[in-house]
Symmetry: C2
Subunit: 514 residues, 2 copies
């Protein structure tokens, strides 16, 4: 992997700079998806009614735990919930009512305004894999991730046309101290990409660092008045909201920054083995998490999430791209839309150890569900391997390529006169051929989505060129993208202020691992 930052081209004045600009690699970036096709609603009205009633029963009779968080308990008490020890029981309807102040959609700003994303409504924003401690590439195999890998994935995300968001922990940089790595990660997103990004959630102080660094990048006032980060707050299912995650949420909500409030569920372990039971628990957890964000700051932007996998009951391994996970994702989408909230779910999920056919079947199943279930923010949209233990270089570009197909499908059917093509049908007639007709000549460039990765060559050509499989083609694409990478312009004063912040913070404490 090429770690060296390519020299900044296309900056400064003079003819040399202009020539450099003309020869610089053009970075294409698609706008977030605005769906022009319907969602698939698999739950009927009666089923929705039962699940919504059951979720309220869970909150009122069983309740949820907010351990080690007296401030949260006090907020719930003040809001009218019944608190006993860590347990919070919420009267029917209260949580849903509290959710009403959360915006139905919001803008997440990027440092390049062209990369701003609208999260909610009919939109779909795609962000890369989050969290793996390992990376894999075709040459080096599987190994612990480093900060060098992290920067490479940020660069690949920046270079990926169909990816709208730089993400967060694209891999876990295990060569940097646990208490300091969030600084390097944030800086990498800010410096190596101009797409929107996520903040740190592993400690409330790291969330505060994220807000402070965003202030350096965007201006502190801008941050207070605009959402510039979307961060991932996992619920400790079943029904537990731990103090670390809630502490990070409190920081972000108080600063008007967005949180994904997301149950993390392996079905049969953290939720019932049944789809309807899981939907009930997911809805109950979403209601509480979103309501809690609104208790911290009414109007704070929130995304209702669901990370749900099935389980292989033979081995206990989580399984991906399965029909039950699909049903839960479709169903949660309906429940979240009835709350009027943006929805996060689905991704390039797979259990495979390699970016092979298993990985691709599982991933394609989940990506398609994500589009059709009305997801607004898809985390893990590319690069996920081995149940999320591994960020795969090759799979990152393979999945990122497939995201283009989602864009095409979402576009819907063009029914203009040109789309109807009645002139072409008349021109060609029975037994004719459309390749040469005027309509084809006018439309062929944009008519069909085309993979930038797959092999479309005749067998003989493909065979002569080494009979390469997808992983091999993807490895070549990774090298090409990293080789072509050029850092997007950033005001040197801002870059220096980020350097200084990170250096000062790192000096202020000894390294801690684990």
């Amino acid at each position: 992997m090429n770690e060296a930052v390519a020299p900044r081209r296309a900056r400064g004045g003079g003819g040399a700079a202009r020539r450099a600009e003309r020869t610089a690699v053009r970075i294409e970036a698609a706008r977030f998806i605005e769906r022009n096709i319907p969602n698939l609603d698999i739950l009927n009205d009666e089923t929705i009614e039962i699940i919504e009633r059951n979720a309220e029963t869970v909150l009122a009779e069983i309740g949820v735990n907010f351990p080690e968080n007296p401030a949260a308990l006090q907020r719930w008490r003040d809001a009218g919930a019944e608190v006993q020890g860590d347990r919070v029981r919420i009267p029917r309807g209260l949580a849903r009512q509290l959710c009403a102040t959360a915006p139905g959609s919001f803008t997440q700003h990027a440092r390049n305004p062209e990369r701003n994303v609208e999260i909610g409504g009919r939109n779909l924003v795609l962000a890369p894999v989050y969290g793996p401690p390992f990376v894999r590439d075709i040459n080096g195999g599987r190994r612990y991730a480093t900060m060098e890998d992290f920067r490479n994935f940020v660069k690949l995300g920046y270079m990926s046309k169909w990816l709208h968001h730089s993400g967060g922990t694209v891999c876990e940089p295990t060569d940097v101290a646990v208490n300091k790595r969030h600084l390097d990660m944030l800086q990498a997103h800010m410096v190596y990409s101009d797409k929107p990004f996520m903040g740190s959630v592993t400690e409330p102080v790291r969330a505060q660092d994220s807000v402070d660094m965003a202030g350096l990048l965007f201006g502190a006032d801008f941050v207070q008045n605009n959402t510039v980060m979307t961060s991932l707050i996992n619920i400790n299912s079943p029904l537990t909201f731990d103090a670390t995650m809630m502490g990070a949420l409190e920081v972000y909500a108080a600063n008007n920054q967005a949180c994904i409030v997301s149950p993390f569920i392996v079905g049969g372990a953290m939720a019932p083995v049944s789809v309807a039971g899981t939907l009930t628990q997911v809805l109950a957890e979403i209601l509480v998490g979103v309501a809690y964000a609104q208790l911290v700051r009414p109007g704070a932007p929130v995304i209702a999430g669901a990370f749900v996998t099935s389980i292989d009951m033979n081995s206990g391994a989580p399984t991906f791209g399965t029909p039950e996970a699909a049903q839960i994702t479709y169903g949660t989408g309906q429940l979240v839309r009835r709350l009027g909230l943006p929805y996060r779910s689905a991704g390039s999920f797979c259990g495979s150890k390699l970016p092979d056919a298993q990985a691709a079947y599982e991933t394609a199943n989940s990506l398609n569900v994500g589009l059709l279930s009305g997801v607004n923010f898809m985390l893990h949209a590319c690069g996920w391997l081995e149940g999320g233990l591994v960020s795969s270089y090759e799979k990152f570009v393979m999945d990122a390529d497939q995201l283009g197909a989602l864009h095409g499908l979402a576009r819907g059917v063009d029914i203009t006169e040109n789309g109807q093509a009645m002139g072409a049908i008349a021109e060609v007639g029975p037994g004719g051929h459309y390749l040469g007709c005027a309509h084809t000549q006018e439309n062929f460039k944009s008519a069909f989505w085309r993979s930038d990765l797959f092999d479309y060559k005749p067998f003989e050509t493909w065979d002569e060129e080494g009979a390469r499989d997808t992983q091999t083609l993807a490895a070549a694409r990774v090298s090409k993208l990293l080789g072509d990478y050029v850092q997007p312009h950033l005001d040197p004063a801002i870059a220096e202020s980020l350097d200084a912040y990170v250096a000062k913070k790192k000096e202020s404490m000894p390294d801690a691992f684990g």
Copy 2:
């Protein structure tokens, strides 16, 4: 590949036979899919209206060709169409009116009545790949298909739990004369499987052989009164109905056997490059093909088909699993349902040369579209490789495994008291674990679909076992299935009559190739 037919076990009386029966491999066969989830309708009412109006305009003003088929032209004349040369122009509404006598669904009988399929309504019947002249396996690579390969694929289809149909030309047995291979192919489906199958369409006389051989298998009277074959009649798009295909259709329709009437379209070549234009042409062609079958015999069972791929405008290669193909498949489903006809489309389509990630992404995209677009008969549901040039042994079992996921998704959400799992949520409570709870213990066996092929093991175990990719796992499964194969019982008198028919027909004419 193991070609030897395993000795027939579990036949005849006596203790040995009973012991054999107990040790025989149990063949599991799933019932055809009965959907309990909605279809995805991507066309709005206005778009449908425009396309339907345009299709009628195409038929009335441009018309279709029925070359070298005076009887067909006479049928159209008698029905009220305007015929000039080979061109048939059909007044608005006439074709749709003629389609009304086609049944909305029908039973295709198998020689084992447990394998009968209901084609139409909310059902989905899955049949394997059709037509490739080549095969590929992990050891032998890509080579011309033989009759031995053909029998192997029939056996794999018989052994595949989620496959409801034995299909037709699972590969093209190039080692048998063109004018005789249909006899061997039909006999193989009849003898090596007990699932329903397809007839020959390459010449009208071969269609008649198919009907006659079905008469030997089912009884001639039974065949006249019941549908025992579904055969593939491709329309020579654009708008041309050639005499060979129509001749085969005439034989089948006259004998009350089902035909799939299916435009064969590479978008931009045989139809306009736009989705709406292609839908218009597809609808026009379906209307004519189905209407023509009803002119031959009102009430003849017909499936309205659409084989549609996009094209890579750089190379001219057909492309698969693309968003435009998906839109056409969804849209055609809506148009066909408004005609009240069974629908055929989608499949394990891919352009890849190998059963790799490209193949799996493309295939999964198309399989999911097939389920959600309301397809009733999915040809090519497994085994398709390299744009349909190759039947792949490994991909056959890979895809066939994924068909299980479609079954799971189609089942919908169980909202019974057991499905709601409120007892489990109360029992486990906040911070608990569901693995041991009573509800999980009672439901875990059927709660989650599980691949019979994929690797779900921990990384270390998988690594120790050779770090096998999906293709390698699939190759092992192919060997296992062919090794375990046991021929289903067939009355020896019927088997002999089929032998005699094939031998006599083969003797009656010299070999012809091409």
